[in-house]
Symmetry: none
Subunit: 261 residues, 2 copies
Amino acid sequence: MGTISKALSLLNYFSTQRPEIGLTEFTKLAGRDKATVHRHLVELVQNGYLEQDSRSRNYRLGPAILRLANVRERTFPAREAVIPIVDALSSELGELVHVSLLQGDMLSPLYYADKIIHGTRVHFDEAELLPLHATSSGLAILAFGPEELLQHVLSAPMQKFAVKTLSRPSELREEVHEFRQQGFSFSDQGFEDEVCSFAAPVFDHSQRAIGTLAVALPTSRLNLEKQQLVVAALRKGADQVSFVFGGHLPENISRDQIDAA
Amino acid sequence: MGTISKALSLLNYFSTQRPEIGLTEFTKLAGRDKATVHRHLVELVQNGYLEQDSRSRNYRLGPAILRLANVRERTFPAREAVIPIVDALSSELGELVHVSLLQGDMLSPLYYADKIIHGTRVHFDEAELLPLHATSSGLAILAFGPEELLQHVLSAPMQKFAVKTLSRPSELREEVHEFRQQGFSFSDQGFEDEVCSFAAPVFDHSQRAIGTLAVALPTSRLNLEKQQLVVAALRKGADQVSFVFGGHLPENISRDQIDAA
DNA sequence: TTTCATTGGTTCATTATTTGAACCCTTGGT
DNA sequence: ACCAAGGGTTCAAATAATGAACCAATGAAA
């Protein structure tokens, strides 16, 4: 591990739970000599990655980070960032995977991939907006997004797209409630006949649901084993996508796992 | 300059205009050996601060930055806190207003607002670092910040950005001295042609100048009345921003006394 | 108010890492 | 088939990082 990595790894000790760290605490966390840690801290401060509270002498994350995050957001389109994750997931599952972002009261597909290894494939149009009440993605957003959005959809007429499209508000409210518990949503033939899908919410830096990661497959290919695979992959993938959008990374997922993906 | 600073300074070459940089370009920008730069880049990638486009092999800012920015804003919401002040000032004056923080020997924009009520608007890139000798913000920091910083800038070459960029150390020293008396700084076409700006220092709780509040407007819109409005608004606003940073400015202390400290 | 423990920060000889000129490999253009 | 340019690697030499011991300031306890 080079000097640069040693210094940068110090920044990883910050979290919402631990926003300020003192010199001694750092040396304990990093398990390195005090002098070394101190020099690293000084250099990080000089470059704006940390700033030191002049009262407590503790260190906290500095303004340079905000500027860089800003540059990345503005210059690195979300689509590009999401491509490898969606591609990997699609390859892993051999099914259609897409990321869609909330746009008014519809979902706008950002990117999708379909590594066909089965005979039948699910139809998906990247340029078509998805309705909230009839897709697993929409239901995921309703479950984890703002309450107003849910109210709005509940009070509007619900267009029938396929044989099993939800059409009664009470039905939708029940489903959404269930998905909130589960952490992911499911829809069977709500948008297109013979197609079912699973979706998990994607969060931005302020923990707001801004979109979804979803897997769609022919209903005929669905079974318990498949469901478990999909749900597990979806959880992992949604966290990765959230991370891309600056959202929070649950404690039980390490950076290594993300790097490996 | 230590290894850490050398590596981190590579990140500063990114901007909205230059979101991706290749190895050779980096070596030219940094003026360092290719092998050195490459090792630094590799280590930054390993830590998530950069990622490499697998097609072009260019480097771009990585996702680690988003997480850190997230932590900082959630635990130390300086940007959020400053937004209403900057917005109000911009609305009041009908001009571009920004708060920037000192980061090494540059200023890093934290937030800006531009409530356009005039035909022309000033260009401002929130993701671009500001030089100290060529902007009113920089001059304000030099006037009220540490003496070493001023010495450092005086002894370094002064890049010419626009028609009236200060380029002689004696000139800069004079200006800074004058601003110290006034309590605010002014720059006419020092950074961009046809643009002038006013700035006032922002202090933290230990009375150190950590940044600035600035107003930028087309030189063509400048007149005495405007200047008086801007300066009055700037004094008031800068104190508000200082307050946000815990550096509230006691009424009985004049700016001259601060200067002495 | 003296003492002691804790934390932040510094020094300097030793040590290990960083450095860079020269090199190789791949790609894309002609 | 050739060349130019960019990305990446090697290894002896140079330089910068390291850490045990030290100092200073703060604050709680005796």
